[in-house]
Subunit: 144 residues, 2 copies
DNA sequence: AATCCACGTTGTACTATACAACTACTTCAA
DNA sequence: TTGAAGTAGTTGTATAGTACAACGTGGATT
């Protein structure tokens, strides 16, 4: 049990340290994209467009927060709104050409950074680490 | 290489999801402690007191940020300042009795939450996960 | 039609943060 | 020994991100 406690303690410490660093580091993922706006834009990109309400629900953000984030992305020219012809309350949000481009760039440098950090890991270790993270996140989702 | 890419992709996704959730969830770790104030208080506790400057350096926060966080903790009665007799510029910060108590409570519920999330993990898996996290964080530290 | 609901915006407030200017104290060197 | 330079911490100011509440507009239900 002592060993078990030690491992859990380490996991807790390291995840906490990671979260702290993530806050500091990832505030600007790209000169013009914060972690939040990056995430929202990425979601629009791989959902092929969606509504502000969907973003709010998916990321547990208030709709006013999403509204302002989207407004900012629109000012930057990265997102455009298309009124849903079937329901005039709804705006379907899409990345613009430029938005998709910026997203692709940000996404590539981000991916590259991960590859660098994990460069000397064996394939087996990468695989296990990925599975552990999935398992941990699923548990956290389940247990709140 | 495809498999390698897949694993890295998953790791990236899951760590990002974790960071996002951490922001939302850990804002209040305890009715009166945010993640930051909890962290600072914990540091004071296991360093047996330290200076505001040390906290700033250790957690990469501006000294003004630390100053205000500490001021808040002092208002709550969780931290006290002791003027360093040898250098009157310096205030050595210590948790108060009450601060130590609140910290212990917060720390215990936090530990318990981790134990619950990891309850059904084998000891071998816990051990490996802990090592992977250490390794990952060390790499991130090294590579920025 | 009247009522209720859904979508999104805006007003307001709060927290966390950084940077810059400042005060108080210390150290060091001429 | 004194004055210049450096260090610890606070305060003024600005910004980002967020939530909640109130609102306007448009749909849906009865």
């Amino acid at each position: 049990m002592a060993h078990r406690d030690d491992s859990v303690e380490t996991i807790q410490q390291e995840l906490t340290a990671f979260a702290r660093r993530a806050r500091a580091t990832a505030a600007r993922i790209h000169p013009e994209l914060s972690l939040v706006s990056y995430t929202l834009l990425a979601h629009l990109d791989d959902q092929q467009g969606c509504r502000a309400t969907d973003l709010a629900a998916h990321y547990l953000l208030d709709k006013s927060t999403v509204s302002r984030q989207i407004a900012a992305l629109e000012r930057l020219g990265f997102v455009e709104r298309r009124l849903d012809p079937a329901d005039h309350r709804v705006q379907v949000l899409h990345p613009t050409e430029e938005g998709a481009q910026v997203l692709a760039n940000a996404s590539n440098s981000r991916r590259q950074a991960f590859h660098e950090r994990l460069a000397d890991w064996s394939e087996a270790d990468l695989d296990r680490f990925a599975l552990y993270l999935l398992r941990y996140n699923a548990a956290q989702e389940r247990l709140g």
